[in-house]
Amino acid sequence: MQISTEELEGGVTRVVLDGRLDIAGAQAIDLKMNVIAGSHKRVLLDMQKVSFIGSMGLRTLVVPAQAIKGRGGKLVLFGPNEMVESVLKASAVNTLIPIYHEFQSAVAALQ
């Protein structure tokens, strides 16, 4: 699992994940995700290149989202594929962390 960040206009941080968000993938990025959550308030998590997510991967999304919200910020998910989105929906995570499939809509939700 690879992770990279990009600063966008309007104080939005785009975090790009690439790979499997399984147990090993979650372990690989947990620390970096927590650092991002502790230092950014508007986070767009780009999941277009995430091919798999399991329960540990959900935790990797939820814990930073809680931390960001606790600091008055917001995290949104952008572009998960159909199967990854089915996991987000089955766990009801999508009801509390919004999912967008249009990039501009995801950015606008953070303004």
Binding site: F52, G54, S55, V87, A90, L96
Partner: protein, 157 residues
């Protein structure tokens, strides 16, 4: 990788009870997918269910002790039904008896964990749990809905 095929279209994979061993599962499923023309949706569901079942056994059943084994078998029932059978020697535990957590109403209410068994129940088409004389057996089936087949079921005994 410890795999073998038999005339009954069963293949198996044996893992040690370490979380790092679960990384051997996706390539094994990819081989099964290619060999049996398993649809992508079912490949994903197999991958997900095995990650949840195996991690649960390793972390809780074996209490993270690394010197045990888990055996996974795949069976192609040749009627659009693909079955995974997981056996371990940990203390008896029926995950089907675990109640799903209540749906959270806010982000603050979401627990960081507890997703595994509910995901297993939702992505498998049927789950059968058996207590063995020396452990547990879970039989998890996935149905290719493009083929005619019997209705899904969930049982335990």
């Amino acid at each position: 990788m410890n795999t073998h095929a038999t005339k009954t279209d069963e293949e198996s994979l044996t893992l040690q009870s370490k979380l790092s061993e679960i990384a051997r599962v996706p390539p094994w499923i990819e081989k099964l997918t290619a060999r049996h023309a398993i649809p992508g949706r079912i490949q994903f569901a197999m991958d997900l269910c095995l990650e949840e079942v195996l991690s649960n056994i390793i972390r809780h059943g074996y209490a993270a002790e690394p010197n045990h084994v888990l055996v996974i078998r795949h069976r192609n029932d040749r009627d659009g039904r693909f079955t995974l059978i997981v056996e371990d020697q940990s203390p008896a535990f029926n995950p089907l008896l675990v109640k799903n957590p209540a749906a959270p109403h806010s982000l603050e209410e979401i627990s960081g964990g507890g997703y595994g068994i509910p995901l297993l129940k939702q992505f498998a088409d049927s789950i059968d749990y058996e207590v063995l004389s020396n452990g547990n057996r879970m039989t998890i089936a996935f149905v290719d809905r493009d083929s005619a087949r019997p209705a899904p079921r969930t049982t335990s005994r």
